[in-house]
Symmetry: D2
Subunit: 484 residues, 4 copies
Amino acid sequence: MKTAQEYKESLKKMRPNIYKFGKLIEDVTTDPATKRTVESHSRCFAAAYEPEYEEIFTTISNFTGEKIFRFNSLMMSEADVIGNSKLKRACYRLTGTCTGAVCVGWNCQNTLYAVTYDMDKEYNTNYHQRLESWIKYAQENSLAVAGALTDPKGDRSKKPSQQADLDSNLRIVEVKKDGIVIRGAKVMICGVAASNEIFLLPGGVYGESDKDFAVACVVPRDIDGLTIVETTRPSDLRELEDNFDMPQTGITQAYLMFDNVFVPNERVFMCGEYKYTRDVINYFTSTYRACIGACVAGQGDVMIGAAVLMARANGLSSRVFFDKLINMSINNEVTYGLGIGAIALGKKHPSGVYFPDQLLANVNKVQVATLPYETKRLTQDIAGGIGETGCLPSCQDIENPQYGQLIEKYLKAGEGSGKTRAKIARLIEWLTLGAGVPGTMHGGGSPDGARLFIRALTPFDKYVDYAKKIMNIEEDVKEPEKAK
Amino acid sequence: MKTAQEYKESLKKMRPNIYKFGKLIEDVTTDPATKRTVESHSRCFAAAYEPEYEEIFTTISNFTGEKIFRFNSLMMSEADVIGNSKLKRACYRLTGTCTGAVCVGWNCQNTLYAVTYDMDKEYNTNYHQRLESWIKYAQENSLAVAGALTDPKGDRSKKPSQQADLDSNLRIVEVKKDGIVIRGAKVMICGVAASNEIFLLPGGVYGESDKDFAVACVVPRDIDGLTIVETTRPSDLRELEDNFDMPQTGITQAYLMFDNVFVPNERVFMCGEYKYTRDVINYFTSTYRACIGACVAGQGDVMIGAAVLMARANGLSSRVFFDKLINMSINNEVTYGLGIGAIALGKKHPSGVYFPDQLLANVNKVQVATLPYETKRLTQDIAGGIGETGCLPSCQDIENPQYGQLIEKYLKAGEGSGKTRAKIARLIEWLTLGAGVPGTMHGGGSPDGARLFIRALTPFDKYVDYAKKIMNIEEDVKEPEKAK
Amino acid sequence: MKTAQEYKESLKKMRPNIYKFGKLIEDVTTDPATKRTVESHSRCFAAAYEPEYEEIFTTISNFTGEKIFRFNSLMMSEADVIGNSKLKRACYRLTGTCTGAVCVGWNCQNTLYAVTYDMDKEYNTNYHQRLESWIKYAQENSLAVAGALTDPKGDRSKKPSQQADLDSNLRIVEVKKDGIVIRGAKVMICGVAASNEIFLLPGGVYGESDKDFAVACVVPRDIDGLTIVETTRPSDLRELEDNFDMPQTGITQAYLMFDNVFVPNERVFMCGEYKYTRDVINYFTSTYRACIGACVAGQGDVMIGAAVLMARANGLSSRVFFDKLINMSINNEVTYGLGIGAIALGKKHPSGVYFPDQLLANVNKVQVATLPYETKRLTQDIAGGIGETGCLPSCQDIENPQYGQLIEKYLKAGEGSGKTRAKIARLIEWLTLGAGVPGTMHGGGSPDGARLFIRALTPFDKYVDYAKKIMNIEEDVKEPEKAK
Amino acid sequence: MKTAQEYKESLKKMRPNIYKFGKLIEDVTTDPATKRTVESHSRCFAAAYEPEYEEIFTTISNFTGEKIFRFNSLMMSEADVIGNSKLKRACYRLTGTCTGAVCVGWNCQNTLYAVTYDMDKEYNTNYHQRLESWIKYAQENSLAVAGALTDPKGDRSKKPSQQADLDSNLRIVEVKKDGIVIRGAKVMICGVAASNEIFLLPGGVYGESDKDFAVACVVPRDIDGLTIVETTRPSDLRELEDNFDMPQTGITQAYLMFDNVFVPNERVFMCGEYKYTRDVINYFTSTYRACIGACVAGQGDVMIGAAVLMARANGLSSRVFFDKLINMSINNEVTYGLGIGAIALGKKHPSGVYFPDQLLANVNKVQVATLPYETKRLTQDIAGGIGETGCLPSCQDIENPQYGQLIEKYLKAGEGSGKTRAKIARLIEWLTLGAGVPGTMHGGGSPDGARLFIRALTPFDKYVDYAKKIMNIEEDVKEPEKAK
């Protein structure tokens, strides 16, 4: 198990292939555009060495019996998947935002552990063995692994193979004896800058005509032929300087562009078996959508803390706002607890890995796309004007030798200093509007997609039968044929 | 394990002590005021013999290893408490409403199984042994057991011992060698008419001055000195006749008035140990508030079914309403799944029984007091005018020889007959406004009470620390002292 | 202007043609099934003579300059339509529920005042003159006029003329020299039992093939050939007795079945002019949906009052619940104020009558189908267990000589008597679940219908242009053609 | 009436006294930190010359009968205040965000027109005359006037005169013969950089001990002794460059710090008359909170447009999202229409100006603090991943010669180009998370403040009476005395 320091060093050694604001990032651990997300992830490594967090961030390898980072483990039981939830909530509490490289890749490997097991059975392939070897390697090397599903997609009304530009979805362009060549892109991928490797899964359910897009593999982040461009988010230009009102932590998302990248066979876990892309999506989303409730709950916890602090810094008792604070706590616990419920009703796959209940997981995704927005609103409501957008001068102004003292004096309200009040207000902006906002609405799939699952998984006709039996209705009342 | 028939016979034999509409009910199984709730409960007995429901309604006694009704069991694991949830959802699906006598008494005995264990340890009493004996007896005799906590309370600003009328809360008036004498009342108690026995628990957390009110025991429903009055609910006067548009099932709630009732020692499980009333409330509400989500989910399932049926009977495709139906399904699964989450994060008590997580259970109670109201609204929305209140003539009119045919003709819309359409509309009224509405807002305690739990169980100061660490705030920002 | 007494006498004289529970109602003013709604309406007549309400319930006739009941007036200005809103809110405050016979007919006559004006212009008919004469007559005789639009409709996927049973929509079966013969039905019509006359409007927008259904006229409630059946609503069987826990007021809805009813020409205002059915619907719904917000606000006011009372009777300060009471007040004022907004942005029709803005009126209808449900939920929340369903014995039990005193003693909580507490709880049940619930979800049309209006009236493409101009987007981004 | 060009020139001539990011802004019309808000305001000037908008942006002066900008007018009727709402909605539609300098100062002058009228009557002062003169001057010179109420306040538990630092609220430090000297600050003031003058009103209701803080006056933005610091908002560092993905328009807010600023008597309209500070707050908030619904509606219109565009650019039909789009439209129309309702129920002040109904205005403020957040959530929901935070590379990357083409190709989805899709996504970010978000939660006062008004203005006891009369309750049920 690497220390936080060793983890950072492992990133330092990698080939620079990440860009932001038009410039190449030479060292992700020091470049202002990426050092904050690296710091976020490094706190997760560090937490494994703290007694308070050890149980959350470590577990025992089912292969070696050794203690490993939990995010390198296989989740073989209800308790293991609840461990995923707890880790995510802890990550948000420690960093205020998302640490994708200790989350998504983890989920990808578990998903494929089941899918390769089934594929091998049907096709007599040896994907499962390959994956197991890689997982052991990842455990030994404490790898931070990002995960990438989302393709650029191109024209949504057409299949991947029908796109004008076939690169619109990541695809196999050549199958060689010792590996495959892939090209295309994955977009909006979280935590890439802080990762050692990136796990690639198909981004949709494909039929035979799209079998070239049915590809799963894992690649080093700095593999040849891969160009990465970080996205920009509100207020992240502020990150380019080290201001007193900026968190040390952060989040990034990236576009990954693959230009005929060669992936050796031992890192390839699906290559054309399109039939199993459905299972990939089902298994991945079950765990992801059950556990994402813990992410937004963890950020919600920080928002509660920030709101309480802001009230105090405004010179008000936080007790005045208890009704709102309770509502915020309820929102957090609903997404967390409902996810736990999905896990508790889950099932073990023959391969040994455990997946949450799909219906509840998707119901949770809809909550995740709704409740945190209300929590943010309540945070701003409690914060007062200063916590709303555009109500605080920049740090350059607060520290300006000419008039900065004046601003500081006018910022002072309750017991704390004006600068502390400014920092809290800035934290609230960062959490509710700024660079700290995670993309949880569409992350792991859209709420509308989740609703389609819910529709498919709700047994409407069974419910009709219950109603009929209670009312003693014997007549068959059918869906009307379509009106002419 | 009794059959449904044997269960009904056991009720038939009891002493008549229940009144409604000013009249004594001679036989609860045939009197129109109570036969519907008896039918509801009897469906639960019958389900235990159906393969589809057997696993839900039966389990193995931890005492005897014999198969018993699940509602007579001790819940010793996460799976057992999830079993409680599943049973409740099934009960609602089968009856459309609440079957309190296979629910609340069950929870009471589990609560006391833990509390008597702890009391015996401290006080060297033998309550635990007494309770165990009774539970075995209940298992052997397949008893339907109601449970009663809510006292009339009197003036809410005063303690029980301060009330002008001491009977405002159920109390011990005499401790005899072989038993105790109790008087006072329990009110709004569900399922009493369908029960063999009633489990009595203290309705609040008491201090030393109120120790006479710290009483727990179990009594036959027809015990000497107990007078029971059923309450009335909207549309239940219709139950006095057997109309084509009435469900066979039903629900009742009752006022229990104890006039110096003698309870022998072997049925007394708490007698003055006021210190443990807090545990009674905590354990009871944890399980109750986790599992009540399944109740409203089960009724919600029936509402989905009724809404789909109504749409069809109106001549419309239910597909038109899928967005609303999905929202209804989400509401159901949130209360169900969040309760399951509370259970999954629960803990085993040293006595062996298992209790859900208190924070999540109380968060769920708040959802239960909110989401089903929206589900009802959506049911009426989908149903169209005919499903709203006051839009359907009575069955006497529909069957009137003179003009009934005319009404029936005007009721016909889609494929089904006018009468079937009327039955569905009436079911929707029954579920959303009428006699089938269960009292889940305040049942098992009020949402405001649950909010107080949430406030106490949310670690606000820990959340403040998270916020401070993320923003690197070192200054201590305290709650302001109260303004002069 | 009739007194309340004279109004009741006018009803007494009418031919009995109303049935409920299978029986003919001989006198609507004394029969328990209808006397409560008559009492409700009679309070509106009486209010016109009270200084506090005079301005609300009376106005000046634009024809005669005499003081008349406002509900017999033409609404010729913004202030006049606001007067409609204010009257409705007052009616609910005085009766707790809906008084359809001083509301819908009023709206019908105003709608037709505009439509007949336009029809006469195009077709050279003299409908406008006929209507004017009838309105003068109605003013002189202080008529209470119900209004009826909703047809049984039959199979929703077919037009009126395509129905298997042509009676599924009210229609003209014969045009005679001196009048028309109509048959079919109108259903779910409010206030009929308390009305002197009934105004009939087409229930949909019709094309040429359905011109026989384009009929508007006004008929005495007891006209030959008309059979009326009252519907039943939850708890209305209680109305058959005069119990201490029943309001004196009430609401009814009815099925009107026309068996070849002859209507003389002077009472016919549309006869086949199908093209104008669209205007009928547009004008009617504009005013109705703007003003219905006042109805639910008025009932909400009573719910606030009942909730405050209940808290006090429970022995609690209503201050504890102020956050919820404020939310209830907000809900009331939103539906009321938004309706006023719709009126303020309305327009005068060339005929002189004034109609609210259609977009805002329909937006309000959606609020009316949502917010009052939350207000009801809050009422039950504040009320505590006793205000929820099934938590109160019947009045026969409370007054039972044997055990009634006992119940009463257990009902006592705060300062008031047990009986008063029971009355308040019963009022809350009546308002939120029982016979007092008005059918405002679908009354005046369904929220889904309102949403279609909103869709049609929102200028989406204009909004696209705003977005493009702000962002300086010149490229045309079209709706995609449908995917194959 | 100035042209847009003349307006900009008038700003150019002013003394530089505004800072941002630690630097002095020499010319607000060209400095990147302020030029966007100047452009926003200048579009309002320009609109007055466009036929489509002329009626909205101009009116007739009640003093001179000449055509003037509407934002320089006195609002003397319901129609005039509705004109305020319409202007605000138009401003947001044209600029996407807030243009404070054609809004708040306007409201200030109307408020004081009433208050000075009353003060003069009581105190025999000549404030009203002074104000009238200045208004005429403002009309003649087409002044853009910001308005400032919010003081820094300091310790919220103390009055202004009790603050450790008396400057925490703007105050009179000296009354000279020819004018007054003020010091202190106003904070979070919108539109200052685009204003010619700033109208100052007291920020609270004061008693006699705080009479030095009861000051109202108007000052040129560049008056001697005034230092202005612009605040920073998420993503506004991007505004420092002219990127293809930035709107031309913008919003700013500022801290105004007064260092013994002399204001001549003819510009002073309140000087110690503390008793009238309550009226200032009441009148100002009535109009402000009625009309602010139009602001968020206007931005909501742009969000609807942007969402439709985004769907199309994603290659999807916007029809798929109609249910959500209708919900967005409803949210917009509720805040707009409810504000109009408040106006319609308003009253004319003896001075001639017209103020909306206070209860409805405050109810609207609560909606404004809630519904737009849901509209933003829906915008992001419809937009898909690309519209969420952190899902789009910067313009520098999209235009990078090395890999920019690659990003652009992956951004292309439907018919439009990749760059156009990026611009729409960026607009959505700007509207929902970025620099375009207006501070409407606390702008014009907090929703909690509005709730206090609602509580005070709801006649709870009257509502209790309605409930009692309906239920025929004669017993007086009082609030309980406080429990000991």
